[in-house]
């Protein structure tokens, strides 16, 4: 079993590097425009945001609607930190990593403080309370002096590009993947399946809900940090309720509990509005129609709870041959 794991790890690593090289060639050679490279960064930010929310919604089974609030905390924390250390003349990568870690930690602390009271509620009630907290964060930022208030925060170093945001996204996805497949991840999944049974087999449900929620907030902060240092300008109104819904839509479209589904859905829901720009007036109509059709024909999301695996995909031709052979054998037997 360990051998199989190693093989798939190598295949995945090669794929990750290949995609990176391809990305690099496309952006530096000018085959894709700067405009499109920018959309890619937005895709990556959405992947980070949606996959972190997926931990709460898809693994913990708790409906949270305040993710934009966490994104805002992360964005402002990293922006202020990055501005403060900008004069030290560090390499951009180190500055970015430091600011993202600071953003993550601050957001995680806020997430923990909100999560402790909020997670005692379930379902709709939790959705409403997180929605409320998300709005409180936005309104607070709107009124603080040091965040620039409603005028927004300017002068943030623009150090995020398609390359470094790609690697941040990969790290976030890998960490979430391994986390959900550890004993702690299993405990979280058991809470989603049946909270009473989960307590009856010795899982401290409150602790694990708080843990999941905090980690989810941490990565939302990282996503916000990427956003801040990509746009170089922050406006509190960006992080409204609609932003939370947008992120939740990605999670639901991709499949709750599927990280690869989230990746696919992030690309679809980020690219679709851009590609439809030519039909400006019908854009939101088409966008909504896609969602409705999706929910009618595949309510569990694109990938459901399954993960797309490269090793699995590489085995498909062999599996098809196998199936055909079995079929032939069966037909031969009949004759």
């Amino acid at each position: 079993m360990a051998g199989k794991n190693k093989k798939s790890n190598v295949i995945n690593l090669i794929a990750i590097i290949l995609v990176f090289v391809l990305l690099n060639i496309l952006t530096t050679s000018g085959i894709v425009s700067r405009y499109f490279a920018g959309i890619l960064v937005t895709c990556f930010i959405n992947i980070v945001m949606a996959s972190s929310l997926n931990l709460t919604v898809g693994y913990l089974g708790q409906l949270a609607l305040g993710h934009a609030g966490f994104m805002a905390v992360g964005a402002y924390a990293s922006a202020l930190f990055s501005i403060a250390i900008n004069e030290m003349g560090m390499p951009a990568t180190i500055q970015l990593v430091l600011s993202l870690i600071v953003a993550g930690i601050i957001t995680a602390i806020i997430g923990y403080l909100i999560g402790l009271p909020a997670l005692r509620l379930k379902g709709d009630y939790l959705a409403i309370i997180t929605l409320g907290f998300g709005e409180i964060i936005r309104v607070a930022i709107n009124n603080f002096k040091f965040t620039g208030g409603a005028q927004g925060l300017t002068g943030i170093p623009k150090i995020v590009n398609s390359n470094n945001s790609y690697w941040v996204t990969i790290v976030v996805l890998v960490v979430l993947y391994t986390l959900t497949r550890s004993r702690h991840g299993r405990a979280m999944k058991s809470i989603m399946e049946d909270e009473i049974a989960s307590e009856a087999v010795g899982i401290d449900t409150i602790k694990f809900k708080a843990l999941g929620f905090t980690i989810s907030a941490f990565f939302a902060g990282v996503g916000g940090g990427l956003y801040a240092q990509y746009t170089a300008f922050l406006d509190p109104s960006t992080f409204g309720f609609m932003k939370s819904v947008e992120i939740l839509t990605i999670v639901i479209l991709g499949g709750m509990g599927s990280l690869t589904g989230t990746v696919v859905a992030s690309f679809i829901l980020t690219l679709l509005p851009e590609l439809l720009r030519d039909f400006a007036e019908y854009r939101m109509l088409l966008y909504s129609a896609v969602l409705i059709i999706m929910m009618i024909f595949r309510p569990q999301g694109i990938l459901g709870t399954k993960e797309f695996s490269l090793t699995g995909a590489l085995r498909i031709p062999a599996a098809i041959r196998e199936k055909k052979r079995a079929q032939n054998d069966a037909e031969g037997g009949d004759l």
Binding site: R183, K189, A200, V201
Partner: protein, 252 residues
Amino acid sequence: MALLDVKDLTIKFGGLTAVDGFEISIESGELRGLIGPNGAGKTTVFNMLTGVYLPTSGSIVLDGKNVVGKQPYDIVEAGAARTFQNIRLFKELTVEDNVKIAYHKQMKYNIIDGIFRLPSYWNEEKKAHNYAMELLDIFDMRQSAQSLAKNLPYGKQRKLEIARALATNPKILLLDEPAAGMNPQETKELMETIYLIRDKFKIAILLIEHDMNLVMGICEKITVIDYGKIIAVGDPDQIKSNPNVIKAYLGE
């Protein structure tokens, strides 16, 4: 001293006294039955023993520790595991994962080991895998380890729930109507399984059951309650001929 010692356990829901002065004392290795007509308060007793309900008064001493007011997961750690009347499996997870979740507390690696897959992660996960497979072997379910719990036939779902409870390494196992909805063949298998558990894991078992063949067949001692009060305690023969029990079940 008894493994489980319950004294004067009472719970009131508003004006209704659901369980009144319940007491039971179970030695380790004992097979005890708890029976009574519908609505007598059997499951309520279970819920108090496992920390789901907080008793109004009374004491529950498990293995020398008072567990009244403890959370359900703390009581599991103290050594009492249970199954449910209506099966509560983690339906969308595999059979193996169901067992591994219950084995959670026995695995000793922290979240950092898990995220970065350090050696302790691999060692402990391997141990958990082997443990789960051994446990499933006892229940003759190894071949279904990778199927989803919801896809198992009914009898096996019941068995898996018992296996999952055992994976928490309990000292006493509380079974809430394990034979509900089973046919005679499955019930017979279940009886054998219960004997096997007691002998192999050396634990005490307290079971609620309506199937009198099962209860009279395997329990050494039976407690009967009706309207929340104990009406008889004794071995199966005594219970069968006890006039109070006959009255409770059949009327005057």
